[in-house]
Point group: C2
Chain length 326, copies 2
């Protein structure tokens, strides 16, 4: 509060200023940089380029699982546990604008807000804009901001819908899959691919009962990969049961990645993805840039509409660099 | 049956052969070309380029709406109605591999199969592979195949999940939004954006009752765009009620698009999208092409992982054309 009133309101901080403040550990600056990223501002590219050399320290942990499995509550508990170990903790929560509700799950965000006054905690909810690929890119740029801010651990929460789990798995250092036991007369099947992506499995809400079946099922199906057998942790996020064990599993996995060199492998895999995505987005921007390429692209689109050139051949033309970049 | 046993089995038809057979109206060739597209074979690019000049005749109608609204049954009925008017009809159904079931809704496909022996009908179910953007591209390349095959109308059925509605709306000539009345004590809300994309609205399963509320709600909210007020058609797909009216609405919209020049506008908008997507996929292929660009790209990814270059700057390097392209 004091800081907010003390700092004079400027219409816009310069990117170098913001980045300097961010690297000093100022949460306000981190928030502003993430907003630039979220809004896909041109300055975001500059900001990410400037903070990039200062990243690579944080342990990035992705959480995935069906809505209602308790991911937010688990993360909330873990934040406190890691704070108690004097680790700085960042959280990036992705709220896909639900096609049905058209908005974020506010309850989850509010529940997390009680850790917001601690200077060692930074929680940010990202809004989805446009394409899913863009969101993944923006989310992990936000993770970089928290990394550069000095957070030791960054939790990324996504809703397990379709492709996002796989995206987390290829981008986080550690992927946590959260499941909950189903009760009643139902057969609990694992979502396709879910057994391949987790480094740690959580069976939350074990107070519901029926967890033995789910745990046995997971144990039976999970296999060691690269020398790591994913642990299965039973939790009750609402009363804290199993949270210490989960925190321990996360730290053991971080050590494992460092010891085996797999952390670097994951960084390289993520880099491959991100370079490609950045290039694809640059293309999209080139197309939208009406001042420079716009008219030529419009002509190309008309030629395709008139069947004078097919879309693939037109794409080859588009991929030629714009004239100014001789 | 006769044709299948008569034609000798070759291990692989050449693309020019396939395209010639397709342009003669051979369904077998159309099926093979769509398989190439579906499997993302290199030959698909050549095939689409060859058929492209022969496309642009068919009226492409996209169907979207929640699972269970009866899209397949409606399309099945419409196929018969248009056949009775001596129109050739193609159907491309997109089965997103459900993250929960991991497969296609076979029932729907089987229900449609009874029109499969008619030479004026071609029905194809596309499997999703990889990215959603890739699927949209593949789907509309399949539509082109049916267009070149000589179909007068092509129906595209997708499951209304997230982005796919918008993709249909930007690619089909006519977009049909299918809804069904909800019964019981629920408030029926329209999915965000659904009011902007439809050219024709169908309230199916009106035998359930409660349709007056939904129709009134739609009427109240729908607005004319570009001089077209989307009609709302009540149907019972299972007994054929309202199908003639729906077919009539589709034909009126096709005439409207031709009369106003909006058909060409839609073609140009689709071309813009497709050129960009094709370019983005070319980039992805360039990255995967280990023989040529692979090693250089690996080095780039390692440089990013080691923070020697940021992902955006690396993307700029990637966007430079490969050396062989003079």
């Amino acid at each position: 509060m004091t800081r907010r009133t003390a700092s004079p309101r400027r219409p816009r901080d310069s990117v170098p200023e913001l980045v300097r403040a961010l690297l000093r550990g100022e949460k306000r600056a981190a928030g502003k940089v993430i907003s630039l990223i979220e809004d896909d501002e041109a300055e975001a590219v500059e900001a990410v380029a400037r903070i990039f050399p200062h990243t690579g320290r944080a342990h990035v942990v992705g959480f995935t699982g069906p809505p209602g499995a308790g991911k937010s509550s688990l993360i909330n508990r873990l934040v406190r546990t890691f704070r108690a170990k004097d680790k700085k903790v960042g959280v990036v929560a992705v709220d896909p604008t639900s096609p049905y509700s058209g908005g974020a799950v506010l309850g989850d965000r509010i529940r997390m807000a009680d850790t917001g006054v601690d200077p060692g905690v930074f929680i940010r909810s990202m809004a989805t804009r446009g394409h899913a690929g863009g969101l993944a890119l923006a989310t992990f740029d936000a993770v970089r901001v928290l990394d550069a801010l000095g957070m030791d651990v960054v939790f990324v929460e996504t809703v397990g819908a379709g492709q996002s789990e796989v995206e987390i798995a290829t981008r986080a250092h550690t992927t946590v899959v959260v499941e909950m036991p189903l009760t009643g007369d139902v057969v609990q099947t694992m979502k396709a691919g879910i057994l391949e992506i987790g480094d740690v499995y959580v069976v939350n809400k074990v107070d519901l009962g029926n967890d033995d079946v789910l745990v046995a099922n997971l144990k039976f199906q999970l296999e060691a990969r690269d020398g790591w057998t994913p642990p299965i942790v039973r939790t009750i996020a609402t009363d804290g049961r199993g949270i210490d064990e989960l925190a321990d599993a996360l730290m053991r996995h971080a050590e494992f990645l460092d010891r085996t060199g797999l952390r670097r492998n994951r960084e390289v895999a993520r880099a491959r993805l991100e370079i490609l995505e950045n290039a694809q987005r640059s293309l999209a921007r080139r197309v939208e840039d009406t001042s420079r390429l716009g008219a030529a692209f419009d002509q190309l689109a008309q030629d395709v509409a008139d069947r004078r050139i097919d879309p693939h051949a037109a794409a080859v033309k588009l991929l030629k660099p714009p004239r100014k970049a001789r």
